[in-house]
């Protein structure tokens, strides 16, 4: 067992995967997680694209794998000071840790859909976010959906992404395929429903994502309309009226729906910024933490003993997050064994 202390900030998929690897390498990492549970965002999801694997499976498996780590839940890092080759990590529960390496794995935030007021989130009951729908798939309980039969539903892509005015020029990468995943799940629950996806581009870059799209078109009859939704209003019957341009026909299009799902994007989680910047990590142009470089050193901060993994450096899928976390664990091990 190594005596080196490694502090992992964030107990999402990234933090847990790295902790699991470090345990196997003989370390006892310390996970500091702000919320009262491990798993991060994935703990809220129902099924994961592209294979529709239950999200709880991976969260539970990782939670078991890291049970031997030191885990602080509902705990925040107040500040970190550098002392020669170590970091003094001060927690808000009064504990201070002298660590030889620190891994930042604080993930992302979901874009706050109320900022796009024209889409009516928080104003109309029929407008949900991707997160609300995932939760409803998991819990089966949402006052806005309870007891309702969904006959006509729409998905709005790129909510808060690719949007200079919303302050996010980046593509969130996971929401096109998430919309398709959720549309399929919704169609399975309501087989007679008509479902439309409003997209600007369909970005289905990952393994089997395009097959998923073909599946949605062919087996589930989901309609795809190329055009960004411009506004949403409420009709007399309490349903929502959605307006967009059908850019392929060059005509305005409108449709009345009883459920509209906004695909909120992945944006940076700024809570870690003061600590990160105090240690010399810059922010990239998209607001996420800047890696040493974006090709071969994504998990490196460029600072000795300070590593990054997962969605804190940009939008990531679960497999990408896992790959980075494994790679960060190995880099930490090499850093601690090969000399600082």
């Amino acid at each position: 067992m190594s005596k080196d202390n490694i502090v992992i900030i964030g107990g999402g998929i990234a933090g847990m995967t790295a902790a699991s690897r470090l345990l196997r390498l003989g370390y006892t990492p310390i996970i500091v997680e702000e919320s009262d549970h491990l798993g991060g965002h994935v703990a809220e999801w129902h099924k994961l694209f592209p294979d529709m694997a239950p999200a709880q499976d991976i969260v539970q498996r990782l939670a078991e794998e890291v049970s031997a780590a030191n885990i602080f839940l509902s705990t925040r890092v107040l500040f970190i000071n550098r002392l020669h080759d170590t970091y003094i990590v001060m927690l808000n529960n009064g504990v201070s840790i002298q660590a030889q390496a620190v891994l930042i794995a604080t993930g992302f935030n979901l874009f706050d859909a109320t900022k796009k007021e024209e889409y009516g989130y928080g104003i109309y009951d029929q407008v949900l976010t991707n997160r609300d729908l995932e939760r409803w798939f998991t819990t089966g309980d949402d006052p806005r959906l309870n007891g309702h039969e969904v006959k006509r539903a729409g998905f709005v892509h790129c909510v808060g992404s690719r949007d200079v005015k919303a302050g996010n020029t980046q593509c969130s990468k996971v929401c096109c395929v998430t919309a398709i995943k959720q549309a399929i799940e919704l169609k399975e629950k309501f087989p007679d429903a008509e479902i439309w996806c409003f997209y600007m581009d369909l970005r289905l870059f990952g393994k089997k994502y395009e097959d998923f799209y073909i599946n949605a078109q062919k087996d589930y009859g989901i309609h795809f309309i190329r055009g960004r939704v411009s506004e949403v209003s409420e009709g007399l019957d309490g349903r929502v009226i959605v307006k967009a341009e059908d850019t392929l026909s060059g005509k305005p299009v409108k449709v009345t729906l009883d459920l509209l799902v906004l695909m909120s994007g992945m944006v940076c989680n700024a809570t870690i910024n003061p600590i990160a910047t105090s240690l010399g990590i810059d922010l990239d142009s998209d607001g996420f933490l800047r890696s040493k470089d974006n090709i071969s050193h994504i998990v490196s901060s460029g600072r000795k003993g300070l590593f990054l993994a997962g969605a804190c450096t940009g939008t990531k899928t679960v497999p990408e997050t896992i790959a980075e976390a494994n790679s960060a664990a190995l880099d930490i091990h090499l850093y601690l064994t090969e000399g600082k």
Binding site: G221, R226, V253
Partner: protein
């Protein structure tokens, strides 16, 4: 008195009112119809297109928007050469689709006594 105003009919597509019956009838025998991704390869390669305005992509889109007449009208601009089928990246048998559509539209028109 002439004020210079006139009422123009709205060209907006209202998805609440589109009639998809022809689209669904065609999709029942040509299920690949649903996987068109509007790439336009078919129209780009079509020898008839520059002369007749033929476009398989537009035919499919018109059907999806319930514009039966526009879709049917375009069919007469096709010479069934099959080039579009060769280029479709989604592997849709577009030539066969055109023939099936001709058949269904003809039967449907007869049923409706047109």
């Amino acid at each position: 008195m002439e004020f210079g105003f006139k009422l123009s009919p709205s060209s907006a597509v209202n998805l609440d009112q589109v009639d998809l019956s022809l689209y669904e009838r065609l999709a029942a025998i040509e299920p690949d119809l649903r996987i068109c991704m509007a790439c336009g390869s078919c129209s780009a390669t079509c020898t008839a297109a520059p002369f007749t305005g033929m476009s398989v992509r537009k035919v499919i889109l018109d059907l999806q928007r319930g514009k039966e007449k526009e879709a049917a009208k375009m069919l007469s601009g096709c010479m069934l050469c099959g080039k579009c089928t060769m280029v479709c990246p989604r592997g849709i048998n577009t030539r066969h689709l055109i023939l099936s559509l001709c058949r269904i539209y003809g039967t449907k028109a007869k049923e409706e006594g047109k």
